[in-house]
Amino acid sequence: ENVDPQKTAFLLRKAWTLYSVTPLYRFHRARLRDYARLLSAFIAAEKQKGLAVEVGVELDVKVVVSSLADLRGSEQDQAAVLVQLSLRSQASSRNSEDKLVWSGWFCSVYGDDLSENVPEDFTCLPLFLTHGAESYTSMVGSWFQKTFDCCFRRLAISPLNLSWMVAMWAGCKLDRAASAVELVFSVPRLSQPLDISYAIHPEDAKALWDTIQKTPGEITQEEVDVFMDCLYAHFHRHFKIHLSAAKLVKISTAVVSAHCDGIVKILQSQYLPGALMLLTELAISQIQ
């Protein structure tokens, strides 16, 4: 679990779009260079077919596929696989600094539930995270689907799971500049749409959670429910509105922020493994 913060720095403070991925058939870690070449050719062909990403200037898309050995939970987990797309200008070779335009990585952090039950030829990396234009995501996804007979699905995060995240990370140790614990609700079925942002001072949210959590390092559903009920009750006392009947769409803490459409931002490296573990679990339940 000792993840080198240097190597994973690029993961932090970026908004990642989440997908669940079914196991990859006959994926060979020794062939990463080959895969990069094939994916690059695929993208070039797609662009020629007219599914151009960049209008106008013809830019070469360079593909790099690499292994992130440290990014895993247990020894059973497969190491993460990172795919990066850069644009290299064909024009001048002088100023040829490649511009990174899209990143996507497959990972599994304590995904034993899935990997235990899968035949040998399959590689389990159930969580896929992307950052960059949707058109690139679509091309990379298509290639992987064709090549490894896998299936991608957007990973939605339910209000139940969002409240787990709030509870889990509201109690984290805070540094001086910690941001508020924020819950964003959307109220459906009204004549005019209404959004409610409920932000709690991080010290006060932590103080509340600390009195609820019985065992450090362990969280129960009951504790999460009590935490949320307390927040709902405080809100109701003032506004007479039943927040529990509204849709929780986004949460933000000093550690992680997450949106119900499956978009996540991880802000601190020490909580990266914990966050990935939770997300891997969500991905696996969506697959099964």
Binding site: A180, L190, S197, D204, T211, K240, H242
Partner: protein, 346 residues
């Protein structure tokens, strides 16, 4: 014609939707009808604006005229800006006769005595609104025409609506000039902000339908009391509850349209109270929260909360007081003493 003026006019015209350029230029009145006829409005805006600049060149436009065109644009697209409301106070009961010329003179004099480089432009509208545009410079730099402040003053009222530029440091000077020019002695910012200038006016001028605690009209024949179509599964019990909610809503909000606000913000510094059985947080310190409600039409959406089953009726006074307290920013603290459940809003 000054290059910077030409560029400013060009950019102002570019902001306008193509099919509205002609109307705005006519309202401006700086170019003659004959000149306007020569303009081809069926080309791309870039070209239209170039032609307009050419005509302005012929008439030797200066920054003063360009500023008027800018006011016209912003008057029509006032809802693109965020407006704050300020209230002025008089020391005595005297009702001064308002002299527009005197007002303008004093305003300009006060501003210019403090800051040499300012562009000040006035335009009066039919509803007694005086629009003032101020472009700010420094002792060493000419005014920045692209970040002006706009002030809307209805002379028969103590209210001023200001859409400030980013340079907040000019606010004290602007406020001073306003009270000097209008013969008031003090001005304070109200906790009321919105993009909808008309709604802000509705609220402070009390032009919206207000609550009537004593009179609830019987629904007219055929008038649909229940917003959704009648469901045969709704029994008498639910029906009377629906009617109760509807009546309470009517008492609080009135029957007419609500002023259009986009948000309300509450800074809560109240105590956290919970069921002692839960055994949770029991601090003596406030539970600090910031709550923000947003909607394209906030008051209408709040009004529909109780009928939708999302809120208790009557709705909390913290929400229903928004129009008559003329504020949408609140700081809520616990009221000390006999009634621990009530809140104070300073």
């Amino acid at each position: 014609m000054d290059e910077t003026v030409a560029e400013y006019i060009r950019r102002t015209v570019l902001k306008m939707p193509r099919d509205e350029i002609k109307t705005m230029l006519q309202k401006w009145g700086f170019l003659s009808e004959a000149q306007l006829q020569t303009l081809n409005f069926h080309q791309i805006k870039d070209n239209i604006s170039q032609e307009v600049v050419q005509l302005c060149e012929e008439n030797s436009a200066d920054i003063k005229q360009a500023a008027v065109l800018d006011i016209i644009y912003n008057h029509i697209y006032q809802n693109k800006r965020m407006w704050s409301v300020y209230q002025m106070k008089k020391s005595g009961e005297e009702v001064d006769y308002f002299d527009i010329t005197d007002f303008k003179k004093k305003f300009k004099r006060r501003l210019r005595s403090a800051l040499k480089n300012v562009t000040i432009t006035f335009k009066e509208y039919e509803d007694n609104a005086i629009w003032i545009r101020v472009a700010w410079g420094t002792p060493y730099k000419k005014p920045n025409q692209y970040k002006p402040s706009y002030v809307v003053y209805h002379s028969q009222t103590p209210y001023v609506f200001i859409s400030a530029s980013v340079l907040k440091s000019n606010m004290p000077l602007l406020c001073q000039a306003l009270i000097v020019a209008s013969n008031y002695h003090d001005i304070r910012e109200m906790e009321l902000r919105s993009h909808s200038l008309n709604s802000l006016k509705d609220i402070v001028f009390k032009r919206y339908s207000q609550n009537f605690h004593t009179y609830y009209p019987k629904p007219l024949q055929g008038e649909n009391v229940e917003p959704e179509s009648a469901d045969i599964r709704i029994v008498q019990e639910n029906r009377s509850e629906k009617e109760r909610i509807h009546r309470l809503n009517w008492e609080v909000f009135g029957g007419g349209p609500q002023p259009k606000l986009e948000f309300a913000q509450y800074k809560l510094e109240t105590m956290f109270k919970s069921d002692p059985k839960l055994g949770v947080l029991d601090k003596k310190e406030p539970f600090r929260c910031l709550v923000k409600f947003s909607s394209p039409h906030l008051l209408e959406s709040l009004k529909s909360l109780a009928p939708a089953g999302m809120a208790d009726a009557p709705l909390s006074p913290l929400l229903t007081c928004i129009p008559h307290k003329a504020r949408n920013y609140f700081k809520i603290r616990e009221k000390k003493g006999l009634l621990p459940e009530s809140f104070v809003s300073p």
